[in-house]
Symmetry: C2
Subunit: 596 residues, 2 copies
């Protein structure tokens, strides 16, 4: 393609319409067509046909979870969900509603109770527990679905006129209480659901940029660009549901950031409707120095400053080659040292993740019923080789999963580099199939937390970033602290804390923890969980970790902000919020930015 010809601008077709098979559950994670069950044999099985695991039985999962959690899960012993529990009546402002009529159709304004409930939370364990076993508290009074930027502008104007609180809603996948409503909010709370602003406005193949509306969902951005042989390359674990606007607002990180960059590296321009009008620029530049750049404030703004309506992002050709890989290491530390060397010596593959021993076994527990003697035999030979010949300890070994993307030559070079360095630390190639499976599992694993909740297991994830030199100690400290706190509370069974390294930087890593425990007989297990997660966060901060690598702050972590930044920094943020949104129209209260 020549850079001197007329720009190659593609204007894709109109707004994609959601199809029925894309319906999402209101009470649990994910698509309606997919859920886990325990079948007559007491085995887990995934219903539906969407994923590779769908329709398959997982004969080891339940017994493995039971074993590590020290609690026997049975099909019969269920904490039956009461979803939906109490849904408060809406507080509606009739004059505001009348004003909406002027620029929104009736189909764009929703007061359905379950929908309002869904718009009042993300996916923290506490929220998911609350909607089934307790109560969520204050929720949005109204959900509106703008279809274009002008409607957002008018919505914000109406909100200011009638003193209404607006909370932008993308995929609803956050795990930071970012969507939870202030129980003391007396104004009408409007959830601004951005899903209908989901168009790819233009694709500029020559300059490799695209302008995309903020409500576009990750999977649709992927498929929309793929038609033209392109990708944005941004794939957070939530990519099936999270939106472009949400990515910017939480400062998201994608699994393949080594190749494509994190969200702040990918976004060239962003348009935002604020209390003072539209924050926008006349054009997107490759890179510039034009003074204070307020667009940068939008990364991590979590809905507190305005509603992101669109962004111009970098795009890439689909890679010529995509390959997977996996490597077994005798210990987490050896895998970790391998990763350190990788960042020093070679071009990183698109994704490199290191799972600790528990997660390694979790992956094994997710294997489907073997479908023939051949498969079993292979597995036994492999096991013999790893354990007997190589002498790996099954209670210590870990696995690293790899995704390679690029030209045939790049990928070939990366593979050679990676396996060469792995051999320094007794790393053993475990095949591309295991790597591929590991990557694909991410999407179905996301359903398991909500599946296990009625079976008396409560669980969630939290993460941090930390310099290399402090990372191993941080993992140990967090695991030890959680174990100690668990025991000291006399809680049942065993606490399960497991870590993986999900992102590599030359300066450090992202560590992603899962924490779970069996809650049978525990009063308010969701509160106990939160107490323990807070203990873990305290330990993370003490160990030199950050407050968050990519989940964000929301309301879950706002109390920690004064611990990581100076009083002046805190005051600046509040002053800035008061100046830019004096009525606190963007009333989510995330980061404590409630206009007070």
């Amino acid at each position: 393609m020549s850079p001197t010809e007329v720009p190659k601008i593609i204007k894709p077709e109109n707004r994609p319409q959601p199809s029925p098979d894309e319906a999402e559950s209101l009470d649990v994670w994910g698509f309606r067509d997919t859920h886990f069950e325990i079948n007559e044999d007491g085995n887990a099985i995934i219903r539906g046909s969407r994923y590779e695991l769908s329709g398959k039985e997982l004969p080891r999962l339940i017994s493995w979870v039971s074993e590590v959690a020290g609690y026997k899960i049975t099909r019969e012993d269920v904490n039956r969900p009461q979803y939906p529990t109490v849904i408060p009546d809406p507080i509606l402002a009739p004059l505001f509603l009348a004003e909406l009529d002027a620029f929104l159709s009736p189909a764009q304004v929703e007061t359905d109770a379950e929908n309002r409930l869904r718009h009042g939370h993300g996916h923290t364990q506490e929220e998911m527990y609350a909607i089934k076993y307790g109560r969520l508290g204050r929720i949005p009074d109204l959900v509106v679905y703008p279809e274009n930027e002008n409607q957002v502008v008018r919505l914000v104007e109406a909100a200011q006129k009638h003193n209404v609180s607006l909370i932008p809603y993308g995929g609803g996948t956050n795990v930071t209480d970012a969507l939870r409503c202030d129980p003391d909010e007396r104004r009408t709370i409007v959830s601004v659901d951005m899903h209908r602003m989901n168009r790819i406005l233009w694709i500029d193949r020559e300059n490799m940029m695209a302008s995309i509306e903020a409500g576009a969902v990750g999977r649709n951005i992927m498929s929309g660009l793929k038609k033209y042989g392109l990708t944005m390359g941004h794939e957070p674990d939530s990519v099936e549901f999270s939106t472009l606007g949400g990515w910017v607002a939480t400062n998201a990180s994608g699994m393949k950031k080594n190749r494509y960059g994190n969200i702040e590296d990918l976004v060239l321009d962003v348009t935002v409707v604020t209390a003072g009008g539209k924050l926008e620029r006349t054009s997107a530049s490759p890179r510039e120095s034009v003074g204070l750049d307020l667009r940068r404030l939008m990364f991590g703004s979590e809905g507190t400053l305005g509603i992101i309506t669109s962004a111009v992002v970098k795009i890439f050709p689909l890679p010529e080659v995509q390959r997977y890989g996996s490597i077994l290491f005798p210990t987490f530390e050896q895998g970790f040292r391998f990763m350190y060397d990788l960042t020093r010596e070679v071009t990183l593959p698109a994704s490199v993740r290191l799972l600790d021993n528990i997660q390694f076994h979790f992956g094994q527990a997710l294997k489907t019923k073997s479908t023939g003697a051949g498969a079993d035999l292979k597995s036994k030979i492999e096991k013999f080789f790893v354990l007997k010949v190589k002498g790996f300890d099954p209670d210590k070994m870990v696995v690293c999963t790899l995704v390679f993307e690029g030209s045939r030559q790049e990928v070939g070079q990366q593979e050679r580099d990676v396996y060469r360095i792995a051999s320094r630390y007794r790393g053993m190639k475990a095949g591309s199939e295991n790597g591929r499976r590991g990557y694909q599992l991410i999407f179905s694993i996301a359903y398991i937390r909500d599946f296990l909740m009625p079976y008396h297991i409560i669980a969630e994830s939290f993460e941090t970033s930390v310099p290399w030199s402090k990372a191993l100690a941080l993992c140990d400290n967090v695991k030890r602290r959680l174990a100690d706190e668990y025991v000291s509370r006399g809680l049942p069974g065993k606490a399960v804390c497991t870590a993986r390294v999900t992102q590599l930087y030359r300066t450090g890593v992202c560590i992603y923890f899962y924490f779970a425990f069996p809650y049978k007989g525990v009063a308010n297990p969701q509160e106990v969980y939160l107490e323990l997660e807070n203990a873990a966060r305290d330990e993370i901060l003490k160990s030199g970790g950050s407050l968050s690598h990519h989940h964000g702050v929301g309301k879950l972590r706002r109390m920690y902000l004064p611990r990581i930044m100076s009083e002046t920094t805190m005051r600046w943020k509040h002053d800035l919020k008061k100046t830019l949104d004096p009525q606190n129209i963007f009333g989510s209260g995330n980061q404590g930015l409630d206009g007070r």
Copy 2:
């Protein structure tokens, strides 16, 4: 090195003391030990011994400039500089001065007239003309030299108490009028010269970060890190003089950004003393999502929000191999297409620059007197080959200069890739010596503008970033517009406008222009130049270019801001300034942020 051992923290020795041979000129660019002259033979010669060209005669330079500018430069016809012209008396606030005594030594407070003058400007042609042939207007009343962060804090407190204006001063190398003082400022203006805050506070080899004070000068950061086999990799053309704080404040770009990144990619954390206290964080993380990140506002803040005191930056091992290269192309367009393909297909060398035909000849004009028949012969054979055998038109051919850094393997691969792609566009390898020379020339060329000013040539540079598809047309439009404006004004000789592509992105390029003309007989040539540069900027914006790629806004370009951003964006910036610095203590007025 192992990531699990105790952190490898190096604390370098105390504050480096400036040596006498580092003294800088007050009236022209650069070190005192270096300047150009016209010798008895009418040839340019560079005095001193600092650079490769130093002490050498450049027999072709004067005649070449005379020819392209259509004006015969002679040794005798000089517009004799009157430096220093009028230096206004300082406006001093006795109570404020008395307060400084409490925390600064007398050697840290300077009222010397020429020094105050130097602190009141950067290097725009207008400023450099003014200090020699006109008057600069309002300048700082006082220069202070803080030696640690606490002194900066107390200085800001004192400024607030006594309502004094502070203007941070780094290398003084800006070309945006960023240091010029508001003629209507009635308060005492204090230039806060950061040069004594020049320590590398710590180097963390294991996590590859370093904490460096903001006043550290680029060349000293390079030499300070080099001792430990390290580099920050940030090398703007001004690296000999500009400072870390200045780089952040102007959102600088380094020549080797392809390998190391621009300043915003390199800085992990920044500490700033503001009107409200210290903006700081407890630790630097590899990457995080912790809500509104005010540190991001500092990139491009140009002294309007506070004084940057230190930053944590990424560091890198010195490359195993550094090699240079150069390629001749028959036309600018062919070189440009080559660059486009590079960004699509391969890992970019650390630096890739494309010089247009005029700059190619300028490079030739900078060749020293040949030192033997061999050298001449070689040159003649080369010429014959290029012009006769390859058929390149000397009035159209251009040159691309390359810097490769990395491991032997990386560099080898990059070289193969680059020359393979170049051959598609009739690119002809012109040797590593020409490439190396081109790179080194950058530093001595910087002296030429001030050298030629007394010989009736006025000149300066300006730049933009622009998507690929618009770049060639932008170059043409700017050159044509300048030529038209020049002719329509009936100005003498010929206007010289020349462009180079200095930075590559997948989405576009940075285009760097030089513009020069002979001003003999022109009244107020500095104002004429400015008018013409403004016409060029108008054309740049119309052609889809940005207001600036890395020079910034300062006061020179503040009037264009409303053309590139919405009213709301402008208002937000002013509201933010008023909120965060209500007294306008940081009174530089850059970007129009004067607290009004």
